[in-house]
Amino acid sequence: MDKKIAVLGAGANGSSIAADLTKANLDVTIIDQWPAHVEAMKKNGLDITMPDEHLQIPVKAWHLCELAEHVPAFDIVFLVAKSYDTHWLTQLIEPYLKEKGIFVGLQNSMNNQIIADVVGIERTIGAVVELSSALFKPGIVQRNTARTGTWFGLGELDNSVTPRLNLIKTIIENIAIVELSQNIESAKWTKLICNSMTSAPIALTGLKNHDARDLPGMFEIAVRLGREALEVGRALGHEMQPIFGLSAEEMSGDSDDILIKIMKTLSKHVGPNSVTAAVHDHIKGRKTETININGLVMKKGKELGIPVPCNSAVTELDGRITKGELTMGESNLDLLKSMID
């Protein structure tokens, strides 16, 4: 394949993706904003530890300020950034995406409209991503999901199945199990429901996923968060879609059961050692993506007049940790309970 591919945003997920695509002999350029990480990649390549493989591979990496030097023209751009970095990064890369190029947001939350507004709906493909990884040291990534335990869903925004969608599928199959979705926006909302249940509430405690999961009351809180997100999604026209490789049959029946099932499936895939990204962000003192997950449920719920007390409380507490007014800890769970009961 002679397609020029950019991986824009090389945190833990972007680095994992770029390493696998480079290994598959594709023409991949990594573009990132963190100077030390770019330096490490230039010098030593990427070092990805997976449960079943240790991958060390030289990569082509540029700092984003180098775009004006190379003036590239990409056929495909994979955006792998936090949701709050979507708009500016899409604007940054737009001049370097070919007229008939393809832009795929490999992100959480609902960013396709933002992307399509910048690069055009005809150049946008949507994706659901389930890949767990962490990056603390420049160039070195711990990837918790093996390739066979990583799951991506891909879909055209108009729900059609096109040759280019199949092309992207072939590329992504070097990283993960891929399924095509003919309702990608609803599939993304289904992932958002799952994220709303697990990411921010777990991050309030600062614990590993599996340790937080077993705290008293955590399960009930997760289900409440999921119910709210589900109801808001339904009002927006999103019925839950099979994701994470679950079948349509497994996704039918009582909605609480489905919520629990997607949560458990995710938990199984990411394994006992994984720590949710929001915990890493809090540790680094960085903004988390919670405003784009639970915060989005809150915003949409308010617009639609649907009560979303649980997502509102989680969003507020996450914001207080980001501002440094609160520290992560198990006691935050009691604080959360007191806000929603």
């Binding site: 963190w34 100077p35 984003l64 004006a68 030097e69 003036v71 500016w88 990064l89 940054l92 960085r286």
Partner: protein, 346 residues
């Protein structure tokens, strides 16, 4: 004065502005994308060499990837980047601009409406700038225009003279002789006209102004380019505005004369050593801004159905240079004339 000020996109111009405002005692944060420059500013501050002042000053500088951790809230953002970096930088800095904050574009070209569409019209103010500076070494800037030889004009997009505009004038007076304009779009277009006349042709030729002007016919070419811009500007509804601190009278004469006066004033201010920005970009192997100078004129002309052969020719050569198909070269003078002739006859 406890306003939190950011200078974003700090090449030679932004670094000059950031240094002067820091020197004046303001609370200034510099935000840039070039890692080595940020490192240099953090460890040694900025060193700005002006013809009449050697300024060495510690500054507060962050790389843009640090913003998600620093999470600042700015009252005023001065955006000092190249035009091609306008939209993404405005999107990037938006979360860190206060709800009642102001973004001021200290750029060439016509980017104010782009900013307004991202930041909101009520938070956007324009500023025409005439500041010549160069940066090749991280942390170190050669500034060709002295403070008193640098000229800015701040203007609200709706032309009102507001308290905010006056406050910005006061702040920027530490960097340049700063006017308030009631016609920011007209002033922008006038500056664009002068840029098209000088930055465009001198840029693709790779010559300093004085060197280029020794070529027979060069001055006539400058004037032809300028006349096209003025015609297009007039048709687009922009009213030409005295810039560079020139008076109404200076702008009252025959059009050729006005254009020559504006060009000469610019050259007097920037001095004989200065090299126009596209030459600096070429040396650094970076994209030049001419798509937003002659390229913009050419685009507007097409929209209005007005011929603009000279701007088309310069824009075309600049594009080839950006694509790596051509080097800057003095011989492109003939190429400009040839391409323009072809455009005229087609």
């Amino acid at each position: 004065m406890n306003k939190k000020i950011a200078v974003v996109g700090t090449g030679a111009i932004g670094s000059s502005v950031g240094a002067d405002l820091t020197d004046a005692g303001y609370d200034v944060t510099i935000v840039d994308q070039w890692p080595q420059h940020v490192e240099a500013m953090k460890s040694s501050g900025l060193h700005i060499e002006m013809t009449d002042l050697d300024l060495k000053i510690p500054v507060t500088a962050y790389h843009l990837c640090e913003m998600a951790s620093v999470k600042p809230a700015f009252d005023v953002v001065f955006l000092t980047s190249k035009s091609y970096d306008t939209r993404w930088l405005a999107e990037f800095i938006k979360p860190y601009l206060k709800e009642d904050g102001t973004l001021v574009s200290l750029q060439n070209s016509m980017n104010d409406d782009d900013h307004a569409s991202i930041i909101g019209k009520e938070r956007t103010v324009g500023c025409v700038i005439e500041l010549s500076a160069e940066i090749f070494t991280p942390g170190k800037v050669q500034r060709n225009t002295t403070r008193s030889g640098t000229w800015f004009a701040v203007g609200e997009l709706d032309g009102q003279i507001t308290e905010r505009a006056k406050e910005l004038q006061k702040i920027l007076s530490n960097v340049a002789v700063t006017d308030i304009t009631e016609n920011i779009y007209g002033a922008r277009w006038t500056k664009l006209t002068v840029n098209s006349m000088t930055m465009g042709p001198f840029g693709v030729l790779g010559l300093r102004a004085a060197e280029a002007l020794q070529l027979p016919g060069m001055l006539d070419l400058n004037v032809e380019i300028g006349k096209e811009c003025l015609e297009i500007g007039t048709q687009a509804g922009y009213q030409i505005e005295p810039v560079f601190g020139l008076s109404e009278d200076d702008f009252a004469g025959p059009i050729d004369q006005v254009l020559k006066t504006a060009m000469k004033t610019l050259q007097n201010h920037t001095g004989p050593k200065s090299r126009t920005a596209p030459i600096q970009d070429h040396i650094k192997n970076r994209k030049n801004e001419l798509e937003y100078i002659n390229g913009l004129v050419s685009k507007k002309a097409k929209e209005l159905g007005i011929p603009s052969p000279y701007n088309d020719a310069v824009a075309e050569i600049a594009r080839r240079i950006n694509r790596g198909e051509l080097e800057m070269d003095a011989s492109h003078y003939e190429l400009i004339i040839e391409l323009a002739k072809k455009k005229k006859s087609s």
